[in-house]
Amino acid sequence: MNNLLSVLGLILFVNISALAATVNDNIVKSTKLFHSTAHSTTTYHVSGVDDGTYDILISPNEFDQLSHLSVSLKESGEQLPYTWLNGDSYVQPYNFKRLAVQLPPNTPQLTLVLSISLNNPSTPLPSQLTQDDLAYSLSFKTYTHVVTPYHTNEMRVKVRAPTSKIHRYGMTHDDSKTTKNGGSMVYGPWMDVAPYSIPTDHIEILYEAAGPRLKYEVSERSAQVSHWGNVVSFRDDIVVRNNGPSLKGQFTRLTHQAQTFLNVLPTNIATMLSVRLPALSEEVFFVDQIGNVTTSHYKQGDGHSSHSLLQLKPRYPLMGGWKYSFSIGWENSLRFAAKLARDGTTRLSIPFSSTPEDVAVDRHTTRIILPEGAQVHSVYVPFEVDVQYETTTSYLDTIGRNTVVLSKHNTSDAHNGDVTIVYSLSLFNALRKPLAVAAVAFALFSAATLLRRINTRI
């Protein structure tokens, strides 16, 4: 079977890439596993590039779990543009997705770094746990090779688990080239790998989890910019679910209190969630549908530290499979978020999300509500998102506010970067609200005066 596939790959290679002289000298793929996410960096040492593009294959599994992807040059750190190719002109074995990276001109030899972030790369085992079970495991499966359309001289695959308690880490058939050191495993080196060769052998790692496996089912942010108040007000509506093994039987407070007292809480319980907010955030709140959640702590970061820490304690401990929906909000001074350019435009930077580390987000939406009458010139987001525009009507608006809606499927803390919007706001539009209010107040006043003067007596 293995050989057959290699043969098939060889035929394809002969057919499609016969002319390409590109060769991978060395490929190292290191994956860092967490509970809900994984970050993987693949370094390609490439030589003999002739046509200015380099194709990367992404496995269908990884493509489904993919949240963030970037390709850069190792030496300069420069980000390279890329496009997804649909499989029409190529027969993609096993539904691999193909990525064409635009290389800088005249660089026959270079080192590319592909960074990807994955959501929910591992599955929990067992699928159900009682409250008394203290630990659970996660199982991670991946290919032993990096599949590429080019010939590869040497490749290695490295995986690092969050704990050193690894129950199983071997490959399905052959374990001769596997080394393990604590929580890190290295597979390979594999020499002279043919293009498109897809091994049937898999790496399967079963590691013990050190904490809960959390995901945000819904994560919606709205950021409202106010020039009069000189603030940006954030509000995040979140539904978090403990995505670990679901609770078998019922929850007993007695057991939970005993476990808390003895400090032996199961790893599958989430009692606290830490969110990093920008430094100097003010007016912080944590509410759910029925009001304030009185059990949160807020550590205000000063001017020196880059962030403040908001520690959220849900109303009840999140057992496996349970969800909790809540909202948090805060305000930042516009001073830090917006800069006035010389041509009168405003350059606004808003963090796309504030997802905590190791939380997978199914879908994240960010609504940036600009001041009333502001005209958007450009929107820059450092990763692929859907951009839409709508109008929001808020306090005492007359024409509504332009709103930029950015949404993306599968996100994680890799997307906590800033979104930059350049917009302009004319003086008339800035004064629109006070003018409107003054006009209405004046109209009311004159109406009242008129009414007073008219004698309604019969």
């Binding site: 019922q250 109303r315 009840y316 349970w322 969800k323 009507t393 808020s394």
Partner: protein
């Protein structure tokens, strides 16, 4: 003319001062009700408000039509409740209207905040209305005093703090407003104002069941006026236009329906209406009859005939059941022991208990002893041809209000406004006498030649100063004293007797001190007794930090987030509205208490042994049972303390199965510890409450902190229920009802088998 111009400016100044005083009063009224928002958060309080809030959300989210025809099948499962037709919609429509108006001018205020702040906003209006009402009774000075009193009096604040989103929040305003309009329309004899009174009454009917108070007070007032020989065409016009339009309008409220023409509570109004017709007709005839003797003969024969026919018709109607008899709640107003015997569900509510004496002082402070004085001064004012009628009204209201307030704690609310009015009348009469003296005024004016002001101006000048005094009292007490003293010294130089400067000083200082203490007392009571949302409990740690006990919301939120949407939660009825409002789950019974049998069913579930309860639970599709247990925390309002009411109510429906006697020990004690009665120990409630509680204490003896008892080492064993969730402080415990065993074994056997298998 210079005089008239000066007079004009003074009037403007006067009305400006009044406006500012009233605005300051409104500010005081609103801000003193915000303790709970500042200390806790903007949250709906207590129990009933949660239903009102939920209904308002239905109105706002689904529109008026849906709200009107709303059939709620998530309450009173499996019966459901035709909610749209069984509530007083005034409150929800008010906040829905405010919400829509604000949204139409692009102020997207959250409906929750509107609901939370509705009561304080309306309390400001109440203060203004009380001012208007008292102005009708005495004058603007008394009006301002009354407005201050009603703004901060604890008796009213108790039902109108921010978050207490209940019918009373707007009803007290409407009560006073209707009374004010009534007195005004009576004074003017205007059909227009009568019709406006009827509209205000209609609003009141749509907002609160207490409208019956209005529809009995106004006829009574009219009747007393007739008896006093003060019948006038004004009375006829204002009363009849109010009654006809008001009755027709009030029947538009679905929950009231045909009651205004069918029930005994409304018949007094009809009777007075008929009486006024007769009187009016006889007055007409009197104009056309030359001799008094002829008229008397006619009148006598007509009256006798009318009385006979009327009584016969009423008797016939009552007999045939056309006119419904008085309701049980009404009887309990006259006989305080009635409810305990006949309708335990009414008696089980703490606010239906008779009022204790201290609570009068607690809620009204100094007003309670100014109140009789005010009523006395109202008797003095009876001879006043214009405002005497309003005084009669105050007296009647005072008498009946006092009676009702002493019978039921919650009716303290209806007494409070009139206490404020009467106290303001008393105090302002006192101040009138001690600050201003008509005789001295004249002398002073003769002596004072430097101005050419005419008398009218001088009087108005003084009035404006007095109108200012009450405000001064509240805000700048010291300056008030000093300015008063100056004035007193300046004006009263060599006078003796009760109006001597020293006598005045003593009285005024006393009054000022009383007012200051009143403000302090009111604020203290408001902040300590009436500002807790009761959903969240706050306590202080020894270090002085505030500790929130948020178990109710924890449990409700858990239900909302982790149970399936069609879960049916059984609990005692107190928690029904909160369950529906916060957890959003179907409930068996709630605070509406319209179906006694259903409540008795829940009582039976709680009071019976597991085998009996389990069948009832399965029959009602109950998936979860919720109990409240304060034993760990020392929270005394828990289900064990309500247990006897559950037993009593279910005994009323199943006298053969439930016996209150069984839950007492042979020596007649109601015990929870080792020596509890067998029926008690076997009851589902007891088992749920104490399930595994003893284990929490490890090797130490388990103590129930509410009842201060030691519990047996081995706790009760549950078979057909399993613990699903217990809140952090064990305040709320939720149990899941097990599915029937798949092998058809009894739960006892199944548990025994599993235990054996584990070993």
């Amino acid at each position: 003319m210079a005089g008239s111009a000066a007079n004009n400016t003074n009037n403007t100044l006067k009305s400006l001062l009044k406006l500012f005083t009233l605005l300051a009063i409104a500010g005081a009224a609103i801000s003193s009700r915000l303790f709970s928002v500042i200390r806790h958060e903007s949250i709906i309080h207590e129990f009933d408000p949660w239903f009102n809030f939920r209904a308002t959300k239905v109105l706002v989210n689904h529109g008026f039509k849906h709200f009107w025809n709303w059939y709620d099948n998530t309450s009173w499962y499996p019966l459901g409740r035709a909610t749209g037709g069984t509530l007083y919609p005034g409150l929800m429509l008010t906040s829905g209207l405010i919400h829509n108006i604000l949204h139409s001018i692009n102020i997207p205020l959250d409906i929750r905040n509107i609901c939370v702040l509705l009561a304080p906003a309306f309390s400001a209006l109440t203060a203004y209305t009380t001012y208007l009402f008292t102005k009708e009774v005495k004058d603007a000075r008394a009006g301002l005093l009354a407005a201050i009193f009603i703004a901060i009096v604890p008796g009213y604040i108790s039902r109108s703090v921010a978050g207490s989103y209940d019918n009373e929040a707007i009803a007290i305003f409407l009560l006073m407003f209707t009374f004010y309009l009534w007195v005004k329309s009576l004074r003017l004899g205007s059909a227009f104002w009568g019709a406006i009174t009827a509209m205000s009454y209609y609003y009141m009917v749509s907002a609160w069941g207490g409208y019956a108070f209005i529809i009995n007070m106004i006829p009574l007032h009219a009747f007393v006026l007739v008896l006093m020989g003060r019948y006038s065409p004004r009375l006829y016009i204002s009363y009849c236009s109010f009654y006809t339009i008001g009755t027709l309008a009030s029947m538009q409220v679905p929950f009231v329906g045909f009651n205004p023409v069918g029930t005994a509570d409304h018949m007094a109004a009809l009777g007075v209406f008929g009486l006024l017709q007769l009187i009016a007709f006889s007055t007409l005839i009197r104009q056309h009859l030359p001799s008094k003797q002829q008229f008397d003969t006619l009148l006598r024969s007509v009256l006798v005939l009318g009385f006979v026919v009327g009584v016969a018709a009423m008797a016939l109607a009552s007999h045939k059941g056309v006119i419904a008899p008085w309701t049980g709640r009404f009887y309990s107003l006259w006989d305080t022991g009635y409810a305990k015997v006949h309708i335990p569900i009414v008696a089980s509510v703490s606010e239906h208990q008779p009022t204790s004496w201290p609570s009068f002082f607690f809620d009204l402070q100094m007003l309670i002893y100014l109140f009789p004085a005010g009523v006395f001064f109202c008797f003095h004012r009876l001879s006043d041809s214009i405002k005497g009628e309003a005084s009669v009204f105050v007296i009647i209201y005072a008498v009946f209000g006092s009676y009702f307030a002493s019978v039921m704690v919650r009716l303290m609310l209806t007494l409070t406004p009139i206490v404020c009015v009467a106290a303001a009348v008393a105090l302002s009469t006192l101040l009138d006498n001690y600050i201003q003296d008509p005789d001295v005024e004249g002398e002073h004016q003769v002596e004072n030649k430097e101005t050419d002001h005419n008398t009218q101006h001088n009087v108005s000048h003084n009035t404006s100063q007095k109108a200012f005094t009450p405000k001064n009292k509240k805000t700048k007490k010291d300056t008030s004293i000093s300015s008063t003293r100056e004035k007193v010294i300046e004006k009263m130089q060599e006078k003796a007797g009760i109006r001597a400067p020293d006598a005045r000083l003593v009285v005024l200082i006393n009054v000022v001190l009383m007012l200051i203490f009143f403000v302090f007392h009111s604020t203290w009571v408001t902040s300590n007794a009436y500002s807790s949302p009761s959903v969240v409990l706050a306590s202080k740690t020894p270090q002085g930090e505030t500790l929130y006990i948020d178990d109710f919301r924890e449990a409700y939120n858990w239900l909302n987030q982790t149970t399936s949407e069609d879960a049916v939660v059984g609990s005692w009825w107190d928690y029904g509205y909160q369950l529906a409002g916060m957890a959003g789950r179907t409930t068996l019974v709630d605070n509406n208490t319209w179906n006694n049998t259903h409540i008795a069913t829940v009582g039976k579930i709680m009071a019976s042994p597991e085998e009996v309860s389990y069948d009832i639970l399965r029959k009602h599709d109950v998936t979860h049972l919720l109990v409240v247990f304060g034993g760990l925390l020392g929270y005394s309002g828990d289900d064990i303390n309500k247990f006897l009411w559950m037993v009593r109510i279910s005994e009323g429906v199943w006298p053969d199965e439930i016996h209150e006697r069984d839950y007492f020990t042979p020596r007649g004690e109601f015990r929870m510890d080792e020596g509890a009665a067998p029926a008690m120990k076997n009851s589902v409630l007891y088992k749920m409450v104490y399930h595994r509680f003893a284990e929490l204490f490890g090797s130490r003896p388990a103590v129930d902190r509410v009842r201060q008892i030691q519990l047996p080492k081995k706790g009760p064993q549950l078979e057909s229920l399993e613990e699903a969730f217990t809140s952090e402080n064990w305040l709320v415990r939720i149990y899941q009802v097990k599915q029937p065993d798949f092998l058809g074994r009894s739960f006892k056997d199944a548990i025994a088998f599993e235990k054996a298998a584990r070993i």
